[in-house]
């Protein structure tokens, strides 16, 4: 009896392994991880994989971008809107080096992404072979983990690790480099998901007492302020977060990557912190008595001068990455762990209360910002269209349900300030790295991940031209993204700094632009240009109503500035309104 069982078991084991090439094994691994879409670009060293992909087209959609950088940003957009892991494939050499910007962006913005690169055959490693580059060496500082595979048999376990590392804990990009011979080599394939690596602790233990200590500070606070970041979204902790702030009645502000985790219209949502954030939360950061940071990392664009940042306040830091605690701002209480878990534990420990008088201070300062900045942005008395007017029209036409994918620069700050969010995962932008050229490919990835959501890319005339070739991807895949270029014929943010800090010496910031409408039309994308305010509302409506991809160029004021602003080196409370 026992013998029969053993024999049966052996049979089972045999049936679960299958002789496959390394290339086909990669596809089987991707399918086992639930991957349905990959973004990439073929080439010599990755050809065995592409050859096998040909046979799996009905299970695994490959989106051919027009540049490998576009593939990485598309994968990021895909990941950011869906919470799933983005997957990229590229060839060796230039294909691999073209991934570096996207990897760095995903690393600093904690985006789960797995990049698979082809590599020259293992016997050619180190010989300066055609299209050989040390991509593992190059990508080391911009990946959460990376690894080179030279034997097919290593593919399943390494890819399983790659997905586990990319998605778990604080997410991040992983690069796996696979030599061409390993892709051809045949071996007995079987796949097992990874859920443990002995040297890796994805979610640190929450120290006993830290929740109670945090609750005590919160319960005794007279003027508490919450600043939340992307950790709330990555941890899928939106409900737990809302429950905490509503019970304790705490005014809550967001970093740009935290935007949309709480609806814009919520009474306790007091706006954006940081260099171009709202007046009230920046100003009152230096008046609160307890600052509660949730899933954010005190970036210098958020804190301004660190020595004068909330120095009067006790600081509580809810954080998944122990290396972020005390990195920039010293925490009086650090609550390590996933915020979904720690906020749920915090909820029963905090008193139900409100801080209405304190909340009123935010509203009073908002009234000042409204009068000095917002009214001029939204209802300008000048003839030129402002960027904020365009965002406001998008809010109206999409009922504030669109995912806004912004690029980098003035339009990004305006988009983040004026977009009204009703749903989480709706603000997709390059935060930490500030990668111009991010938005167009990221919007493609976002729309492919969530075809039922309206995805609107907001891009400046500078950043648009950094990845404009991805119009080809939209054309070929018929992805109905809406593209809005806010054209001020300047690299506007740099120009603003030149105006304010470099004596108006506009060195190399003026752009002589091509006919963007004709370019879009060349890709059979319906396109329109708006110059006059009276045409704006209709143009945005036409764009949103379109079932297909649509390009809208809006000529905006050439020398408009983004305010409020905290100049470099100033304290958050020195935020300028003009």
């Amino acid at each position: 009896m026992k013998e029969t069982q053993t024999i049966n078991k052996q049979k089972e084991d045999l049936s679960s392994t299958k002789r496959l090439s390394g290339a086909e094994a990669i596809i089987k691994c991707l399918l086992a991880e639930g991957v349905d879409t990959i973004f990439g670009y073929p080439g010599g060293a990755i050809m065995p994989l592409y050859d096998k992909l040909y046979g799996y087209q009905n299970q695994l959609k490959h989106v051919l971008t027009r540049h490998e950088q576009g593939a990485t940003h598309a994968a990021q957009g895909y990941a950011r809107i869906s919470g799933k892991c983005g997957v990229v494939t590229a060839t060796s050499g230039p294909g691999a080096t073209n991934l570096v910007t996207g990897l760095a962006d995903a690393q600093i913005d904690s985006t789960p992404m797995v990049c698979i690169t082809g590599q020259v055959a293992s016997h050619l490693l180190g010989t300066d072979a055609f299209q050989e580059t040390d991509i593992v060496g190059i990508s080391t500082p911009v990946t959460k983990w990376n690894h080179q595979i030279t034997k097919a048999a290593d593919i399943p376990s390494v890819l399983a690790k790659a997905f586990y590392i990319a998605k778990s804990g604080r997410p991040g990009p992983v690069l796996i480099d696979i030599t061409k011979d390993a892709q051809f080599e045949e071996f007995d394939f079987s796949y097992q998901k990874c859920n443990h690596i002995r040297s890796y602790v994805p979610v640190p233990e929450t120290k006993s007492g830290s929740i109670k200590a945090a609750a005590e500070l919160i319960n005794n606070a007279k003027k508490p302020l919450i600043v939340w970041g992307q950790g709330v979204i990555l941890g899928e902790a939106e409900a737990e977060f809302k429950a905490v702030i509503e019970k304790a009645g705490i005014p809550s502000a967001w970093t740009i990557l935290g935007a949309s985790a709480l609806e814009t219209s919520h009474d306790l949502n007091v706006g954006m912190v940081g260099m171009h954030g709202n007046y009230a939360p920046n100003k009152l950061t230096n008046e609160c008595d307890v600052l509660i940071a949730i899933g954010m990392r005190f970036d210098d664009r958020v804190t301004g001068d660190l020595s004068r940042y909330a120095s009067q306040a006790k600081v509580i830091h809810f954080e998944i990455d122990p290396a972020e605690v005390n990195k920039n701002v010293k925490a009086d209480v650090a609550v390590l762990g996933n915020v979904k878990d720690t906020l749920a534990k915090l909820l029963p420990e905090i008193n139900a209360t409100n801080h209405n008088a304190w909340l009123q201070e935010f509203k009073d300062l908002y009234a000042i910002e409204l009068e000095k900045v917002i009214n001029d942005d939204l209802k300008p008395e000048v003839a030129e269209i402002t960027m904020a007017e365009v965002i406001e029209q998008i809010n109206i036409q999409t009922d504030a349900k669109a995912a806004i994918v912004s690029d980098v620069g003035q339009h990004q700050m305006v988009a983040c300030r004026y977009a009204k969010f009703k749903e989480t995962k709706s603000n997709i932008t390059s935060g930490g790295l500030g990668t111009m050229g991010f938005a167009l490919p990221a919007a493609i990835g976002a729309k492919i991940a969530e075809p039922n959501r309206e995805v609107v890319a907001i891009i400046g005339d500078g950043g648009y031209q950094m990845t404009i070739q991805e119009l080809g991807t939209i054309f070929q895949t018929k992805t109905p993204v809406k593209i809005v270029v806010l054209n001020n014929e300047f690299l506007g943010m740099v120009r603003q700094w030149q105006q304010l800090f470099f004596d108006k010496r506009y060195a190399s910031t003026e752009m002589v632009n091509p006919n963007f409408v004709k370019i879009a039309e060349g890709y059979s994308i319906e396109a329109k240009k708006v110059v006059k305010r009276e045409d704006l509302a209709q143009a945005v409506e036409d764009m949103i109503k379109s079932k297909d991809a649509y390009f809208l160029e809006v000529m905006v004021g050439k020398e408009n500035n983004v305010f409020p602003m905290i100049p470099t080196g100033a304290s958050v409370s020195e935020i300028r309104l003009e």
């Binding site: 593992v136 060496g137 080391t140 500082p141 959460k144 983990w145 990376n146 690894h147 080179q148 590392i165 443990h196 690596i197 002995r198 040297s199 890796y200 990455d321 122990p322 290396a323 605690v325 005390n326 990195k327």
Partner: protein, 175 residues
């Protein structure tokens, strides 16, 4: 700003290609120079131990340790001041054989400094010395009055006075 002092870092890692590059990049990115580095097997099978010497402030040290521990394949990283560890450094001197036979002081220097003669042939001889940094410096200064053909010094190796419970930790990980 606190003072920069010498710290000895002990890192227990998986023995994987490329990890040294990943960890050294953490120092490079912060413009910290590595004074010495040693990689060896450790008391645990398949676990590598690195000993790295840097001169930084304690605040910098804590942040760097946080970044090192964050790396997926790093099991644990510690930092120590000199009085928290027992350490040794070692070095080799190559000198002309004539000196050994014609200059009696050389033999005295070897004896007084507890150094070892590793090899002697008709052209050159080699002295080895292990000890603390200052002891090696003393020997170097003494021999440097004569012609040193070659001098080299190995990275610091160290054990901590306190326990480093890596095995216990690994058992917990594996549980």
């Amino acid at each position: 700003m606190s003072k920069e002092i010498i710290y000895t870092i002990s890192i227990y890692t998986e023995n994987n290609i490329g990890l040294l590059n990943r960890v050294s990049a953490i120092f490079q990115r912060r413009h910290i120079n590595i004074e010495s580095i040693n990689s060896s097997i450790s008391e645990i099978e398949n676990v590598t131990k690195w000993t790295i010497l840097v001169e930084v402030t304690e605040e910098q040290m804590k942040k760097v340790i946080g970044q090192i521990e964050k790396q997926v394949e790093v099991i644990r990283a510690y930092y120590h001041t000199d009085d928290e560890i027992i350490y040794q450094e070692s070095c080799l001197f190559k000198m002309k054989s004539d000196l050994l036979f014609e200059t009696p002081q050389i033999q005295n220097i070897i004896k007084e400094n507890n150094a070892q003669l590793v090899t002697v042939n008709k052209d050159f001889f080699v002295i080895e010395k292990s000890g603390r940094k200052e002891e090696i410096e003393t020997l170097y200064n003494a021999l440097n009055t004569y012609e040193i053909l070659q001098f080299t010094r190995a990275g610091r190796i160290a054990v901590s006075k306190e326990r480093m419970e890596i095995s216990k930790m690994l058992n917990l990980f594996n549980a």
